[in-house]
Amino acid sequence: MIHVTINGKAIEIAEGSTILQAAKSAGIQIPTLCFLEKREPLGACRVCLVEVEGARTLVAACSTPCVEGQVVHVNGPKARAARKQVVELLLSEHDGDCQTCERNEDCELRKLASDMGIRTVTYGGARAAPKRDDSTPGLVRDNSKCIKCRRCVTVCNQVQGIGALFPQGRGFATVIGPAFAGDLDGVTCVQCGQCAAVCPVGAITERSAIDDVWAALDDPAKTVVVQTAPAIRAALGEEFGYPPGTRVTGQMTTALRQMGFDAVFDTNFAADLTIMEEGTELLTRLKRALVDKDKTAALPMFTSCSPGWVQFAEYYYPNFLDHLSTCKSPQQMFGAVAKTYYAQKIGKKPEDMVVVSVMPCTAKKFEAQRPEMNASGVRDVDYVLTTRELARMIRQANLAFTELPDGEMDAPLGLSSGAADIFANTGGVMEAALRTAYEIVTGRELPAENLHVKPIEGLEGIKEAALKIERTQPAWSFLEGAELKVAVAHGLGNARKLLEMIRSGEAQYHFIEVMTCPGGCIGGGGQPRFTDDGVRLKRISAIYAEDESKKLRKSHDNPAVAELYRDFLGKPLGHKSHELLHTRYAQKERR
């Protein structure tokens, strides 16, 4: 422990901590821009300059370590003026049109300028020409808004291990972007949107589907239904001033209904359906491997709900593709079921229906456009909105969100169990699958307190658990005494580590969950900004609370799913399921 004084406050802090960390621990704010928690500070933007007594120059708080006895002034005139100058310089090179900018609600640069009281831009710096890159389905880039903080580079390279974005060129002419400042579709990118999630300004955003959705809602010939992913309800409130971790399921439902959707449904329904299919698939693979000694039964099996992960495997691990569950993601299962089963129920043709998804994710925009996702004969999911876009639409509809009464989702595709809610969290798909698979095999409930598999919860990058299977039902006696080993990874960098461990034989599992984004869908690239670990943990708790608030906690108890099997699909992995709910993957050449 060492001792420093910041703004007159004595602080005790672990050796090796930075001035920024010390200040934060004492509740003292220092503005930052290029800094990202848990990552090596770049010290590039100089927005965090502070004064240290005895030092010749101002220092960057994010990258300067504390030393014993240090006396720091955050708000002396020198530091204030210097920080202001840094931001003024950024503004002078920035193609700013805050009135119309996509980012104007939560722009960090705009906030910094306003917090510092900048009212005129004194420098007339050279600006980059606007250049819009909308070459990919999920994202739009505009380099003229980029302030070169490199957060996107850090996330794309270090957290996701993709490296689509990198500084190009040198000096003033440096451009942050894909190879040779070209378009994003010229390089390998999985559309996860983590770059958009960390970008402080309007330089990377989701590609908006708002206009398309309004047009569909305004078209009287169309039946427009909406599904919302489980992660939305734990985050949407942040856009309307609620603290992170506030559950707004009921208000969100009312808002959607008032916006004019013909039915408000739930991706959760399809998550329960996914568990029925995927759980059965896992058990079938285990049987083929253990009883039939079938070498083609690829184990471990991987989840396939996260389209960024699926693309990652297609690009980097083609040899593992037959290990991926053939189940489509809940979003796509929902679309396929809505445009067949539900369309028949209400006497509509698939082409007269419009399915809108609200997703925490930009990769879902890409997934909906995959050519094979048209099991109903037309595109199964027409438009995908991010959580942020839904918030914008709610504002555009002039709804006072916080005043709205709670609503209930519609039957039948709006009914779900708590197991579906936890799809939003890292470890959640695994837990939901175990709740069902264990019960199928043993006839007894998963022996875990409150049905939570603790070792696979939380923000540890790679998690694992083992489950002893005893006293099986007769049909599953081949699993008697077996130990089911599972692992969970979130963030593609962690997924890569886990895959390498499996490839080298260092680790062995039966079932593995991978989610593209840190924390799972609650930390998705389309969620309200800014998402740090504190926010992730609050959303995760909200999701578990939502799960525990449900009467039904297990997917196989969902009566609407049971009815779907009885009246339409037949049985899990049956012929119709295969047609509608399963898919295949193909190796992609890296770009």
Partner: protein, 175 residues
């Protein structure tokens, strides 16, 4: 049709597959060396005369780096070129003798006339511009070379004229 050589050398270019094989040999040797990327890119440029996309993607794969990262490195250093060399490689000497006798003004005039920087190539792929360090003709400084032709006592004002001779009716080799 015979293949036209895009580099500054006089011999006919070996075919693409042959060059790629040479590249792969280099990559196999370099890829595990720390800091091997830049030397590998330099060798690749020596083999191909420039760094086409197909070569960069190969290098990226070998080093297990993203294409954007390799592109970032290539675009950071001015000695890498991603466009084929022009038909004529112009090298302006900036060795001591030439420098003292106005090599720099010659270079500035050359940049002006060609509209490119050092390391660049004109859009019509006629000229590439480099600088040299003493061509052993100090007595005649300032000098420059266009492919194998040595031009001595070059006057900045006469650069346009000098280039015209090469530019004139294309096709045939010059002069």
């Amino acid at each position: 049709m015979t293949k036209t050589c895009t580099c500054a050398c006089a011999e006919a270019a070996p075919d693409e597959a042959e060059l790629m094989k040479r590249l792969d040999d280099v990559l196999a040797e370099q890829k595990d060396k720390p800091g091997g990327l830049i030397p590998a890119l330099q060798t690749a440029q020596a083999i191909f005369g420039y760094l086409p996309e197909s070569v960069l993607r190969r290098v990226a794969q070998a080093f297990d780096k993203s294409y954007s990262e390799v592109a970032g490195v290539v675009s950071f250093y001015s000695f890498f070129s991603t466009v084929p060399r022009g038909k004529y490689l112009v090298r302006v000497c900036l060795g001591t003798a030439c420098y003292v006798r106005g090599g720099n003004e010659v270079l500035r005039a050359m940049k002006d006339k060609l509209g490119i920087d050092v390391g660049g190539t004109t859009p019509d792929r006629q000229f590439s511009l480099e600088v040299g360090r003493c061509f052993g003709a100090c007595g005649m400084a300032p000098v420059l070379m266009v492919n194998d032709d040595l031009h001595q006592r070059v006057k900045p004002a006469k650069i346009g004229e000098l280039l015209e001779k090469y530019r004139a009716p294309a096709q045939e080799a010059r002069p």
